[in-house]
């Protein structure tokens, strides 16, 4: 699948004309949006330079179930309901009567981690996004008392039923395969999968990988990528991200292949480690993070997308800055991905 996509992109790159804004991938994928019609919706062409979308879709339709581009989510709700005034019978109305249950990680510096100086409260970029969603459901005052953060295990992050959560925000990479299990919001963060190594490691390029022991987290997309692009690597699977850092520290593995969003945090926790970029091609290592919601709750996805869309740029900037500071990254490293919608 990824290989095919790579070739498709390459082909379109040759055909494309300059002039589209934003990253080349996003611009090119627009071509797929064209000319898809159904009987009940008005087709609207989106451009990458604007994020405002006007449409009048009612209910679900087959077109929306088709996954051509994993980062395309469902059109946002318009207009966004007022806090505590969710449409009767909707999933949000049900949430309104209780607390919002959110599946999160608790081991990733910057994104979702326990603040041991504050009674172990889970904090981070992903938690803040969950709080924003809660604020739109309960209102800013009630939101803080109505969010229940549930730590989930990495390998089962997409099992919302098991944890009885309404949504999970935990560095889940969107893919068309995964769209069969859960529905995703728009992309909220773009990460790249890179190799974390000890500073003296000789690992430079793909040719250095065969025979090396590389750590990955159970159930992550990293395993598939390694299998396809570096099949002679010895894969060492750990249940948690931090366990891979420990394995690296203990010289049990030569590298940890994971999202740079985690690797930044690990460099902070252990300055003798460093990130080696570009070992594998960029197209295969890009990860688009989406918030996972149960497949049945597509209206909730629209609601979330609307919340994210209507978050003021200043709020985004503040959250990005907080993230960059906790990961000791230069300002501007964290960027807001452009939201893309189906149909």
């Amino acid at each position: 699948m990824t290989a095919f996509r790579g070739r498709l992109v390459a082909l379109l790159a040759i055909l494309a004309t300059a002039g589209c804004a934003s990253t080349s991938d996003h611009a090119l994928r627009n071509l797929d949006d064209l000319a898809r019609t159904t009987s009940t919706t008005n087709v609207v062409v989106t451009t990458t330079s604007t994020t405002k979308v006007v449409e009048t879709t009612s209910g679900w339709d087959d077109a929306e179930s088709v996954c051509d581009d994993e980062t395309e989510s469902l059109r946002p709700t318009e207009p966004l309901p007022q806090p505590m005034q969710m449409p009767p019978g909707s999933f949000m109305a049900e949430i309104q009567t209780r607390k919002l249950r959110v599946g999160v990680d608790e081991n990733t510096l910057g994104f979702a981690f326990r603040d041991l100086q504050d009674r172990g409260k889970i904090k981070g970029f992903e938690v803040e996004l969950a709080n924003e969603i809660a604020a739109r459901i309960f209102g800013p005052v009630r939101a803080s008392d109505h969010v229940e953060l549930v730590p989930v295990l990495t390998e089962e992050k997409r099992d919302l039923k098991k944890y009885k959560v309404d949504l999970t925000i935990d560095a889940i990479s969107m893919s068309c395969e995964r769209w069969k299990e859960v529905a995703f919001s728009v992309e909220y963060y773009t990460a790249k999968q890179e190799f974390l190594v000890r500073k003296d490691s000789p690992l430079e390029g793909k040719s250095d990988l065969p025979g090396r022991k590389v750590c990955v987290t159970k159930g992550s997309s990293s395993i598939g990528i390694l299998k396809e692009w570096a099949p002679r690597t010895i894969v060492h699977v750990e249940p948690e991200r931090t366990a891979c850092l420990v394995a690296l520290q203990e010289h049990e593995v030569d590298a940890y292949f994971g999202h740079d969003s985690f690797l930044y945090g690990m460099q902070v926790q252990d300055p003798t480690m460093e990130i080696r970029r570009g070992v594998l091609p960029a197209e295969v290592t890009t990860s688009h993070y989406g918030i996972a919601v149960a497949l049945d709750n597509r209206e909730f996805v629209r609601f979330i997308n609307a919340v994210l869309e209507q978050m003021p740029p200043t709020t985004w900037a503040k959250l990005h800055r907080q993230l960059e500071e906790s990961l000791r990254l230069p300002e501007g490293t964290a960027q807001l991905p452009v939201p893309r919608y189906r149909v």
Binding site: R114, G120, V150, G265
Partner: protein, 446 residues
């Protein structure tokens, strides 16, 4: 002397003459003269005495070893092994509670953890210095001594990272815990089992019927020889009573009585030690270990968010084994207590067990609702407290049983104190008298 001697002599001479004729016939057949026969008797008696003394002393020593082993070696080893397990398991519980509660710097947990490590170190040293360890136990000690510093190091590494709010600290703690559960604690259990088996081996040794059987047979053989010699002498010499041989017979009879009596006392005391002590101590000690294992199952299931399906079935198995009123280990201890007139507070133990299980049920309920934090609160609060209360009650009963065990074992040891020496002396003295008595007769022929 003369009147009684005459009476005895008359009795002896009223032995059928056939016996007397037999002796003469045998000596004529063997072409051995009566003096030679007497010399043979002397040699035989001396040889038998020496053998009997050797064998008797050995037999008594065996029993003494059993009794002494119980008090000085095996019962203390059981106690040390159990205490070591408790210390290690509690240290890990303190560390994993700190993880669940995100309370790495909680001074109460920290103090508890450090105290546990110190106790573990002390007990480890005590066990290692014991003489009678099986090979399996020696290996276990080596494992624990090797792994404990690594475990402690990982816990400190976790703490150092957590102080900086680095999530990798939790990974170090998980490593430490898994090392404790998969290496240190199983090694300790191996040692505990070996110690328990050793204790009952010592009980068997200390009450073995082999000893009195050997002693009685040996002394009986000696008595038969003395009697035969006495018969020979009085028939031939018409001197009814041979003072030497009579005294020897008396001394050997006394030796026999003393050894059988003391062995009986010692055997009874040791059996009391087992029935009033060990038979309650062992099930209760084992129950205490199982309580700790079940609590760690609960903790780990929570920490690993139920991904490992084996913890809950194991919890059930442990809880069933611990039992309660009339069942399981608690039931076993209570039954043997009733039989011997002690009281094991079976009701109290069962009630505390119920509180523990009630808390456990609430934890499972919270988990089924997806309420992870509530589950953590119950486990680190009510359930831990209930387990601690249960442990305390078990510990109290264990201590009473241990005291009874020790008291009776001491009685057993005291009973055989210097008995071997006394019996050897009596038999030796008897031999001297017998020989002198016989030699005088031989000299009369010269």
């Amino acid at each position: 002397m003369t009147t009684t001697g005459q009476a005895v002599g008359e009795y002896i001479t009223s032995v059928p003459p056939a016996v007397g004729r037999r002796i003469v016939a045998v000596s004529r057949r063997l072409a051995i003269s009566p003096p030679a026969l007497l010399r043979i008797a002397v040699v035989l008696i001396v040889a038998t005495s020496v053998a009997v003394i050797a064998v008797t002393v050995q037999a008594i020593t065996d029993r003494v070893d059993g009794a002494r082993g119980v008090g000085a070696e095996t019962a203390p080893l059981v106690n040390d092994a159990e205490a070591l397990y408790v210390a290690l398991a509690d240290a890990d519980a303190a560390a994993s509670t700190a993880y669940l509660q995100a309370g790495y710097e909680d001074p109460v947990l920290r103090t508890r953890y450090q105290r546990d490590l110190r106790v573990a170190g002390d007990r480890l040293a005590a066990i290692a210095s014991r003489a009678s360890l099986s090979d399996e136990s020696k290996d276990a000690i080596a494992t624990i001594t090797r792994e404990l510093p690594i475990y402690a190091g990982q816990v400190e590494l976790a703490r150092a990272n957590s102080r900086q709010n680095y999530p990798v600290g939790a990974a170090h703690l998980r490593d430490a815990s898994s090392q404790m559960q998969s290496e240190l604690l199983p090694a300790t259990t191996t040692m505990y089992e070996g110690a328990a088996r050793g204790l009952y081996r010592d009980y068997r040794r200390g009450t073995a019927l082999r000893a009195p059987a050997i002693i009685i047979s040996g002394l009986a053989l000696l008595l038969v020889q003395l009697f035969a010699a006495h018969l020979l002498v009085s028939f031939r010499t018409r001197r009814i009573l041979n003072v030497g041989l009579a005294t020897a017979t008396l001394l050997v009879l006394i030796a026999g009585t003393v050894s059988v009596a003391m062995l009986t006392i010692e055997g009874n005391a040791l059996r009391s030690s087992q029935r009033h002590g060990a038979d309650q101590l062992l099930p209760l000690s084992t129950a205490r270990i199982l309580v700790l294992q079940s609590l760690s199952d609960e903790n780990l299931d929570l920490i690993e968010r139920g991904t490992e399906p084996g913890y809950m079935p194991d919890f059930k198995r442990l809880v069933t084994a611990i039992g309660g009123y009339g069942k399981g280990l608690i039931g076993e201890a209570a039954t043997s207590a009733v039989l011997t007139g002690e009281s094991v507070a079976a009701n109290e133990l069962t009630n505390r067990m119920r509180s523990y299980l009630a808390a456990h049920d609430d934890v499972r309920l919270a988990i089924s609702r997806g309420d992870y934090f509530e589950a953590v609160e119950i486990v680190t609060g009510r359930e831990s407290a209930a387990a601690a209360a249960l442990e305390k009650a078990l510990s109290r009963n264990i201590q009473s049983a241990a005291r009874r065990l020790d008291v009776h074992a001491a009685e057993a040891r005291d009973a055989l104190d210097r008995v071997a020496l006394l019996v050897a002396f009596l038999v030796a003295a008897g031999t001297v008298f017998a020989v002198s008595g016989l030699v005088r007769r031989v000299q009369e022929y010269a």
